[in-house]
Symmetry: C2
Subunit: 284 residues, 2 copies
């Protein structure tokens, strides 16, 4: 156990999209802070599973005694970047009782008839939960910017609305972790071709994915802008290199671990006389 390769520098620092951040400078092939290779990464993922599960259960337990803390992991990425894999391999090992996953698709006509945050508000995690947004309100400043479905003024309104919304969640006890999984254009091509070649993956392929590839640079611009406008102390962005799936998974796992550790969780101690209760159980 002790010879597992761990991060030398934490993703929460290494991958933070701080002041002056430029998406262009982030290398999708890199493995920042981690000195090992694929098998080391897989070993680390398995090794830290237990810790993640224990922290999650403590978070859940606290909420049963009035705790209001919770986590919200927001995952954004280009298609095929591996959001599903993160959900499956990182969140998949947690207790399903404590995970609240919401995948946001194209809005329904009803959802469209409201402000863009209406459907988001309804999906925020309950106290004690690790919530995950697979896509999110950021679609409203990403694809909407790329295809000019929103005017520049409306986009500005949305950035501000997002910051207010996220600050409010933070104020109510939510630790927000925002992640952009960063793959390269070439890597996406390989993954789309792989879907076409595999009968168990073909169902995930959409002709629309190819069409959107023509807008790649516009998407990168939109991400750059969104990160600039909505990277706040309350809800910072992390850009995770994602060409290597194993790296993206341990990086997000580590971000979650850090977020949970930062909550200083403790097992709740119910107000009861343990000796008396033991006696009652024995006699029952």
């Amino acid at each position: 156990m002790t010879d597992v390769v761990t991060f030398e520098k934490l993703p929460s620092e290494m991958l933070l999209a701080g002041k002056g951040f430029r998406l262009k400078d982030s290398d999708p092939d890199a493995t920042p802070g981690f000195p090992g290779g694929k098998s080391d990464g897989e070993a680390l993922l398995a090794h830290l599973d237990g810790r993640l599960t224990t922290l999650q259960e403590t978070l859940f337990a606290e909420s049963r005694f009035g705790g209001t803390k919770r986590i919200l992991l927001i995952l954004q990425a280009m298609d095929t970047a591996g959001k599903g894999g993160i959900v499956n391999h990182v969140m998949g090992t947690m207790n399903p009782q404590g995970v609240q996953l919401k995948s946001f698709k194209s809005p329904t006509p009803e959802e469209k008839s409201y402000d863009f945050l209406w459907r988001i508000e309804k999906a925020v995690p309950a106290a004690g939960m690790v919530g995950v947004f697979d896509r999110s309100h950021y679609e409203d400043v990403l694809i909407h910017r790329v295809h000019r479905w929103a005017s520049p003024e409306e986009l500005e309104r949305r950035y501000a609305a997002i910051n207010e919304f996220e600050a409010r969640q933070t104020g109510a006890g939510t630790k927000i972790v925002k992640v952009m999984l960063n793959i390269s254009r070439d890597e996406q091509k390989e993954r789309l071709l792989a879907r076409l070649d595999d009968p168990t993956k073909l169902w995930k392929y959409s002709s629309n994915d190819v069409k959107e590839r023509a807008f790649w640079d516009d998407y990168m611009d939109a991400y750059q802008k969104a990160i600039e406008k909505t990277h706040t102390d309350a809800a910072p962005w992390h850009v995770v290199p994602a060409n290597k799936k194993w790296y993206a998974r341990i990086a997000v796992q580590q971000l979650l671990l850090d977020a949970l550790e930062g909550l200083h969780l403790k097992w709740p101690v119910p107000e009861l006389d343990v000796a008396l209760e033991r006696d009652l159980v024995e006699r029952s």
Copy 2:
């Protein structure tokens, strides 16, 4: 892999609460159909994980192309019987995207103001999902019968309503798997004492659990009656011996596997020209 111990007779047959079923004859310590011990059971659970995950993903994929099939696992049991462990160890390995878990607590005042199936209807699994009810509408014919919160006539109405409700779900594409986890009174005592002795489990302990132990026999009568009244071809009951947690887990895993196999799932084949799409991706 080939030397994993498997079921000699399937839980879907062995544990079926068929005609003339008597709960009193079901031994909570038994391990019907399984010739191995604890370590064999744990090995089998891990061994069949992959199969379960693949079937679940196929179910999910089908729903993306119009499929309406889905699973609903209903878990009922006395406190400490291990519902949470089943959710964690059996469902916990599935892809969270395809699992829809609903834990039913005491109804809220709003829920109480409606018919007992109102809140249940809202929680039925979406197409392609493996839904799990941790407790369910059966509470309304179990604890309500034990404490006489419902009259005999009202209970009869509810049994009938449940059968109609479940038949309707089945008609809409839902495969229902109903499981009662069967622990003994003595085993529950041991587990309650264990909660009192472990600071990481103490938060799960409730003084109320001891009080309910006084009604143990009434609960068993209520289960017997509920199973008699609601064991149908569309939604049969299985009584799973649960004093050995490892056995309960492999039994429920096997019930889920059988249910999924019975759906004859296939990877969807999208209507697209793969060669053309490959060419478009290559050029993109």
